[in-house]
């Protein structure tokens, strides 16, 4: 069917790779057969701090073993900007679970067993893994993210708080959380002569080719990264992880293709996580709910290898206009794994504190929580509050807690705002006219389940004036034009912009091929723009057990133009499902004596199961942000987890009258007060 009049963008086109995914044909990183493939297994450090003196192997378990690599025999690597990638280069142990040796064997079974029985001669040292708000080593980082200061202050916060008619002063804490994409971090590495080929599960093929090139002393074009399908990432696959380097090293040494798929347990140490936070938030307001002051302080931890700062206070800088505002971040390096990006880094934990504290303020002022926010909301946010409240059926809510009981269940509702910056990053796309075969659109982007492949086809189809079927999208390959990371909710804006530019250039030039680089345009884009939203939750709390269930969860979003309502809705509800996990289930438990995440598997680290997700839905305003990018789109990948946990925590208070300020909200915390 050819219908060039109807626009593809905005239509609910089914995922292009859907048939491949439901039939099992879609190939993920560890699924490319190789001749003579060997298997690698990491040996994690059993101590959080110390020195590795020697590695001894067990001859009885060596039948299949090709090599056991450690710092005593591993090839030299060049330095990159990520010290975690300097694997097997030093005798220092920076955290429990750090890879200290790598077994490469002919079989998976042989590699796993040899790694289990490798003897590590280690000199353990005293360690410190406990985050405390009064830790003597806490310091102010130079920046929390490049270009974003650690501390800000406007007005006179102390004076405003001292004179405010109503105040709240509360401390919230969020635990360490792990991304846990369903596909473990995995790599198959192969050296074709001096060229490195990596089938790798990641969110940024272009960037990882560059990084691996640096590590192995190669130009980026000598490294070929293939990431056709990615089984989720949520941030942890945004940069090269040690698995890619280790697989490449193992392949170099053995001369065989090497597969390294991390066991789930290893994903709790060496690929990143969301750092725990402690946040004190003080709000001053007039008696009619005008916000006069906010002070948002936060404390978090990083590793000794690399300073990554989880930055909850940043969101408070833009969410509400407040004349007196102070935000600060302190971080302490500990003998723990390095935290990284996890969906909504900064925003997700930050909005727990801010939006729960606002709920507490609304209670103090005896104001409806929606109305309190409405007084300070910009137009887009205000629309989300109003329309969301209407769609959810908020009006008529009895704001008093512990009023609704059905059988053993206490029932309550809660809400919270949502926001996420509208980001874009420089990318390049190439379009080729293939004659009767349509057009090839190529960009080194990655689709980790977002729908990127599909919406890029829609964008190109409209720009070229052809049906989507005539557009052939090539992504997930570092040999394609350089693209930005699939992160920061920036993929659609960044890549769509480049694709739009390339298509327009092709049409305008009349040539068979055009390439477009957005670096200059992106540099001029406004940097202070955000998506907004409002989350509404209904929960029920079992008075007998303290178990919490989310009966209903609804998100209303102002996220610019929605390019594909089908995949967008999935992204929104997926973010909210992760929000349920953050509110109720997820917590990585660190044993202080061992320095270990003790619940390091999917039986003990609970992500929401199907039965945890009942009625959940999302809607959006669909108002294009025309001044941002040619599509008028804002990112949607993360906003679903920003604010939804607070809505649930607030609903639990409304149901039970119990205010939990230490996530996750679990039955053991509620039970004493029910």
């Amino acid at each position: 069917m050819t219908n060039t009049l109807s626009r593809a963008v905005g239509s609910p086109l089914a995922r292009l790779e859907g048939p491949a995914k439901v039939s099992g044909a879609a190939r993920y990183a560890a699924e490319y057969p190789q001749d003579q493939m060997a298997y690698a297994w990491i040996v994690p450090s059993p101590v959080p701090r110390g020195r590795l003196d020697a590695v001894l192997t067990d001859p009885a378990e060596e039948d299949d073993v090709l090599v056991v690599l450690w710092h005593g025999n591993a090839p030299h690597l060049e330095k990159s900007d990520d010290p975690e990638l300097a694997v097997l280069q030093s005798d220092r142990i920076a955290y429990r679970g750090q890879p200290v040796a790598l077994v490469v064997a002919r079989t998976l079974e042989g590699a796993r067993r040899a790694a289990q029985v490798v003897q590590l001669d280690i000199t353990a040292e005293d360690h410190d893994v406990e985050l405390r708000a009064d830790h003597p080593d806490l310091h102010t980082p130079d920046e929390v993210v490049p270009g974003v200061p650690a501390d800000t202050a406007t007005g006179d916060v102390d004076a405003a708080l001292a004179t405010a008619p109503a105040t709240v002063d509360v401390t919230y804490s969020t635990p360490a959380l792990h991304n846990n994409p369903m596909e473990p971090h995995a790599t198959i590495a192969r050296w074709d002569g001096e060229d490195l080929v990596l089938y790798d599960s990641n969110q940024h093929p272009s960037g990882i080719a560059k990084t691996l090139g640096t590590v192995f002393g190669l130009p980026a074009e000598r490294v070929h990264v293939i990431a056709e399908h990615i089984g989720g990432g949520f941030g942890s696959k945004g940069s090269a992880r040690p698995n890619a380097v280790l697989a490449a090293m193992g392949s170099w040494v053995t001369g065989r293709p090497v597969q390294l798929a991390l066991p789930r347990q290893a994903m709790f140490s060496m690929v990143g996580h969301r750092a725990p936070t402690v946040q004190r938030i003080r709000i001053g307001a007039s008696l009619d709910g005008e916000l006069t002051a906010i002070d948002h302080e936060s404390w978090t931890q990083t590793s000794r290898l690399f300073e990554f700062v989880e930055s909850p206070g940043v969101v408070t800088r833009s969410m509400y206009p407040v004349p007196n505002l102070r935000t600060s971040h302190r971080v302490v390096p500990l003998d723990v794994p390095t935290p990284r990006w996890m969906r909504g880094p900064g925003e997700a934990p930050g909005m727990v504190a801010l939006e729960c504290a606002l709920d507490e303020l609304a209670i103090r002022l005896d104001l409806d929580p929606v109305e309190l926010r409405a007084r300070s909301a910009n137009p887009g946010y205000l629309s989300c509050l109003r329309r969301g409240a209407e769609r959810f059926g908020w009006s008529g809510r009895d704001n008093r807690p512990r009023q609704r009981r059905e059988g053993d269940w206490w029932i309550g509702t809660g809400m919270a705002g949502a926001t996420y910056p509208a980001n874009a990053m420089p990318s390049t796309a190439r379009v080729r006219a293939l004659g009767h075969d349509g057009y090839e659109v190529a960009i080194g982007a990655a689709d980790l389940g977002t729908g990127a492949r599909t919406i890029l086809a829609q964008i190109a189809a409209d720009e070229l004036g052809v049906p989507v079927d005539d557009v052939h999208i090539r992504i997930g390959d570092s040999t394609l034009p350089v693209a930005s990371v699939a992160g920061g909710s920036s993929g659609s804006a960044s890549w769509g912009w480049a694709v739009t530019g390339a298509c327009r250039a092709l049409r305008e030039s009349g040539d068979d091929e055009a390439t477009f680089d957005t670096t200059e345009l992106v540099g001029k884009m406004p940097t202070d723009r955000h998506a907004y939203g409002a989350h509404f939750a209904e929960v029920r709390v079992d008075a007998v057990t303290g178990e919490v269930r989310v009966s209903r969860l609804f998100g209303m979003y102002d996220t610019g133009r929605i390019l594909n309502p089908r995949t967008a809705r999935s992204q929104f509800i997926g973010g909210m499902v992760m929000g349920i996990g953050m509110a109720l289930h997820e917590e990585s438990v660190l044993d202080p004596a061992l320095g270990a995440w003790v619940n390091h598997d999917l039986a003990e680290y609970h992500i929401p199961a199907h039965a945890d997700v009942e009625q959940i839905d999302a809607e959006w305003l669909d108002e294009p942000a025309a001044d941002l990018n040619p599509m008028g789109a804002k990112g949607i990948g993360e906003i679903g987890i920003v604010g939804s946990p607070a809505a649930i925590v607030n609903a639990v208070w409304h149901a039970t009258g119990v205010r939990i300020r230490d996530l996750p909200v679990r039955l053991d915390k509620l039970l004493p007060s029910l």
Partner: protein, 324 residues
């Protein structure tokens, strides 16, 4: 996983050499072997033995072959009507896939999910006697408040076993020294100072069946489980209960607690306290208190005492009014 020799058992009298273990559904054993926590030299596959039937016993009651899969047992009409607590407990456990694999005998013999036990690189008196128990000072939110020792506070993770404990089930055992039978409540040991031994089974002994006695009270029985997510999660507290009320008084009662002790915890003190008492919430709470008086909670698991108390009262209360 250490390499091993594999063979299929052909008869009950085969016996086991040292280092050999029986393999049935594999849902726990293969898991622990991959982790390096279990390192058998020989696996003797018992799934081809004729132990996969649920049959009626001559004098009444039901015999459950030890190789009967959890899902088949949960769906069995005789179990659903005569012993609903057992069907409910089975369905509250694991997932559809795991229930299709796990067997009755294997479910009973599954090992603790204590997070230290499950990691071969961590100290644990159960997998390496004498290495210490980090849980007592460390993570013990889901560990024992009853029956633990200084050496071990592991909990037994089975839901099914809690129901069987309440139902006076009897375990049929075959082994080199002949066959014997013991109450299911005697199958699991308390850890004392030898936590490495989970059960009363001798090496080479095989559970062949679990017998459910004739038990009229069991027709009104229920299992209630609390957990950290709505499904596919081990219990943080569970109660199996059967109740018969006559003239407002407790005529007969069976009660067992799960996820609070190293074994499925038959609450005999609570039962004793209840018999003849009014079938009221107050009696139920008092009975729970009688059993939980022995609880020794640690820093982070005291909630289990409240949880079991609440669950006991709620489950028994529901049975007083439940006519389904």
């Amino acid at each position: 996983m250490k390499t091993f020799e594999y063979r299929t058992a052909t008869g009950l009298a085969d016996g086991l050499e040292p280092g050999a273990v029986f393999l049935a559904g594999g849902t726990n054993l293969v898991d622990l072997m991959k982790l390096g926590v279990a390192t058998p030299d020989v696996l003797v596959d018992v799934t081809r033995l004729p132990l996969d039937q649920v049959t009626e016993l001559p004098g009444g009651g039901v015999r459950i072959g030890s190789a009967v899969r959890n899902s088949d047992l949960a769906a069995d009409r005789r179990i659903r009507t005569g012993y609903p607590v057992l069907s409910q407990a089975l369905l509250a456990g694991a997932s559809g896939q795991l229930r299709n694999m796990a067997t009755t005998g294997g479910n009973l013999l599954q090992r603790t999910r204590c997070r230290y036990f499950m990691d071969a690189t961590m100290p644990c008196n159960k997998h390496l006697p004498g290495s210490g128990c980090p849980a007592r000072e460390g993570d013990h939110r889901n560990l024992a408040v009853l029956g633990g020792s200084d050496a071990c506070i592991a909990t037994h993770p089975s839901d099914m076993a809690v129901a069987l404990a309440a139902l006076d089930a009897v375990v049929q055992i075959d082994g080199p020294a002949g066959s014997r039978s013991i109450p299911v409540t005697d199958l699991h040991r308390l850890p004392g100072d030898t936590p490495e031994r989970d059960t009363a089974l001798e090496h080479g002994e095989l559970i062949t069946a679990v017998d459910l006695p004739v038990l009229p009270v069991a027709a009104r029985s229920a299992y209630r489980k609390a957990r950290d997510r709505a499904s596919y999660a081990f219990a943080v507290g569970a109660v199996a209960a059967a109740l018969e009320v006559k003239d407002g008084l407790v005529h007969d009662v069976r009660l067992a607690f799960g996820a609070v002790a190293p074994k499925p915890w038959r609450a005999l003190a609570a039962e004793q306290a209840l018999r003849g008492q009014p079938a009221t919430r107050e009696s139920f709470l008092a009975a729970a208190d009688a059993e939980l008086a022995a609880a020794q909670p640690l820093r982070d698991n005291a909630y289990k005492v409240t949880l079991i108390r609440n669950l006991t009262a709620a489950t028994l209360s529901a049975l007083t009014g439940d006519v389904r």
